[in-house]
């Protein structure tokens, strides 16, 4: 008898010692471009497919279910985390005068905007890739593309971005934005790509 009572106490103790199950919420959000992707929530054998803006999967009191939240409800629960989200990686293009590392007049104006945008980012990690059109031979274009990238790096260092955070590469005429035959003067191929994250 005593053994039975003790046994029952041990079992009861084990039940009460179980911590209450945690609550969980998953909400899919629309991207800034308006597109909403899909999150598949698998909980044991249960599966929730979230593919509408602010569609949610919730677990509370051991019960799981789907729900539709509002933008305001998401801001309320996740505002601080969303606020801490880093700036989205971005790519900028600048164009050059034929056979030089001089920017076109239009791109000079653009450069000012890009530099201002880069200055806003804490510890920007930058990759600058230079390109040429197909005029001239491969080796000369490799060199020119590297010079274009280095010239842009110079502007970035000038506004205070540490050089060690900026990598450069020259791709010559190997990665044309607009595919052309050899020896074609194509302004859109004479460019640098500035990737920042």
């Amino acid at each position: 008898m005593l053994v039975l009572v003790l046994g029952a106490l041990v079992i009861l103790g084990a039940i009460y010692a179980q911590p209450a199950p945690l609550e969980e919420t998953v909400v899919v959000l629309p991207s800034p471009d308006g597109h909403t992707g899909t999150v598949i929530v698998q909980r044991g054998s249960e599966r929730h497919v979230l593919n509408q803006p602010f569609a949610a999967s919730r677990l509370a009191g051991g019960q799981a279910g789907m729900a539709q939240l509002s933008d305001a409800e998401v801001r309320q629960s996740f505002g601080v985390a969303l606020q801490a989200l880093p700036a989205r990686p971005a790519t900028f293009l600048l164009y050059f005068v034929t056979a030089t590392d001089e920017l076109t007049d239009e791109s000079k104006g653009e450069l000012k905007k890009i530099l201002a945008a880069l200055k806003q980012r804490p510890v920007p990690d930058i990759m600058v890739v230079g390109h040429t059109d197909t005029v001239g031979d491969l080796e000369a274009n490799d060199l020119l593309s590297a010079q274009r990238a280095e010239r842009m790096k110079g502007f970035l260092v000038e506004i205070g971005i540490p050089g060690r955070q900026i990598r450069t590469a020259g791709r010559g005429e190997r990665e044309l934005l607009v595919p052309t035959a050899d020896n074609i003067d194509e302004p859109r191929n004479r460019r640098v790509e500035i990737n920042v994250r």
Binding site: E24, V26, V27, L29, G61, F78, P122
Partner: protein
Amino acid sequence: MRWTLLVCLFCFAAGVWAGDVGQIKAATGAVFLERQGQRLPATVGMPVQESDTLVTGADGSAGVTFSDNSLLSVGPGSVLAIERYAFDSTTHNGHFDASLKKGTLAVVSGKMVKQSPDAMRVRTPSSIMGVRGTEFVVKVSEPGS
């Protein structure tokens, strides 16, 4: 040609990401990285490595950018483990397993998910989330909180 090679070598040598999988871009309040049993105060600019756990205090929040352009951020009272991470910047193949033990998490998926939809998984104590190129938030909390 020799020049190109030199330029390329220089690029690799200067790689900000060598050995690191991400970087802290935002940190407010108490934020730590647990790495190999040590608890390091996390500051903006600090690299994040595979197997790191990001921990925030009651007043803390932090944001991390990963090498495939995935973005993750956590709110107060959070514990987020970066369990597995690999990314090949040439093929865009990789895998990313993260686990939110508690707190709040915001995710913007990156290049590896575009390449292969099963590349990224986020776990909570009772769920596994598959990510098909998207943004989402996750909360794990005590009942009634």
